[in-house]
Symmetry: C2
Subunit: 247 residues, 2 copies
């Protein structure tokens, strides 16, 4: 899972030399996924540093902010057509007053003048999404050596103000769970009520009663009941559902 050092250095060099980013602006993506009933978040680890960060990046002069978020997400996860929602913008001066980038570049022996744009103050716009854990194909790049999913309740040491960004993002996700789940590729096209319930329980961190949950969800009138699913188990076959087209 390692790419060789010269390649990293070359990528970093290219990034540093890029001149067509909008200065002072970045986007960060809080990508939530879940696996075995546990809500996790996708983080990247910086080269040679014991620091993790959200997948983020810069905005090109000729792209919309939203496009930038999509592109960055694609670069890191190889996922496209992901429903991303902006949740907050973080603009304290102190948030980039540290030496993360400086140390990183120094470690790779890359000479960058002190007044380079990457050392300037950055205001970052947070986007979040809930996606299917298994679809993500992470890989290292110029900045980051490894990617991993972490339980949201058990984060490693984070760069910048990313811990705060995550908690704000999670709060947003929970408030907007309905929209997010419909838009996520988290469930297959057809799914059972139990699967849907597990997603809700994982994201919200609480249990529901099977029957009341079903009633509540069906009352939203956003599901369409399909055929039954026979999976060979010795019990009544559950119905499959799909999300109904928006009206």
């Amino acid at each position: 899972m390692n790419i060789d050092d010269s390649k990293i250095k070359q990528n970093l060099q290219e990034l540093i030399e890029t001149k067509d980013f909008v200065q002072h602006i970045s986007v960060d993506c809080a990508i939530f996924g879940f696996h075995e009933g546990i809500l996790k978040i996708l983080l990247l680890k910086y080269h040679d540093l014991d620091l993790w960060a959200l997948p983020g990046g810069f905005v090109f002069n000729d792209e919309d902010l939203r496009e930038a978020a999509s592109r960055v997400l694609h670069e890191r996860t190889h996922l496209s057509d992901i429903f991303l929602e902006q949740f907050h913008t973080f603009g304290r001066i102190s948030r980039t007053e540290n030496n993360v980038h400086r140390t990183l570049l120094k470690n790779k022996n890359i000479e960058v003048p002190d007044d380079h744009w990457i050392f300037q103050r950055f205001i970052t716009v947070g986007y979040c999404s809930l996606i299917d854990f298994t679809l993500v194909n992470t890989f290292p790049d110029a900045f980051n050596e490894s990617c991993a999913w972490f339980e949201v309740t058990n984060l490693p040491s984070m760069a910048f103000d990313h811990e705060r960004i995550i908690s704000t993002g999670l709060e947003y996700l929970r408030k907007n769970i309905d929209t997010q789940i419909v838009a996520s590729n988290l469930l297959p096209e057809k799914f059972t009520m139990k699967e849907l319930q597990t997603v809700y329980e994982t994201v919200l961190g609480e249990k529901f009663r099977r029957n009341n949950f079903q009633r509540k969800i069906l009352a939203l009138n956003s599901l369409e009941r399909l055929e039954k699913l026979f999976d060979g188990s010795a019990n009544k076959a559950p119905y499959l559902y799909k999300f109904a087209e928006k009206k």
Copy 2:
């Protein structure tokens, strides 16, 4: 209400020559107030243009984004200690692809090179607030010749994407009305239930039943009942309330 032309020109010149703004970033404030049961928004009119805009401005290198919003608001309304809440960031390229600033400067015969920062792309962070209509003391400045309150349902022609910013801000305000009203200086220290109800009805644009409204609000447990108000009218005196301290 007009300041003389040379003063305007001088102010504009100073703004243009300012070098310590964070580039590409601005803040815009959607300030809602109400008067005679009508929800209004504070807008500024550009000099010599038939275009209105939200009170907005730029962010200094050494100030937090939130501070910038407060400062800008203060500059325009002379209000301080106003509770401002960030609601969305607007980052389409096309949003500043127009000639508002260019035309404005040209009208005042101010020479500015084409590559000046003010003509660059701007990403703006929207803040909103609900305030007491009568406390605002608006006045013209370098950019704007006049200030006025407009009904949110009847806006004049707006600069940039400010119409969209207003509708997004209004949506946010309505969703968060409880917090906003407590924080606004909209009601006097002591107020009657009827006054509070009028504010809710104005902001949300719907009517409530007197008694049910009272129950609902009191159930929130955020009001403290005080003495009765005798205003000389021939009916039962209503209680006064104040917002209880947060627990």
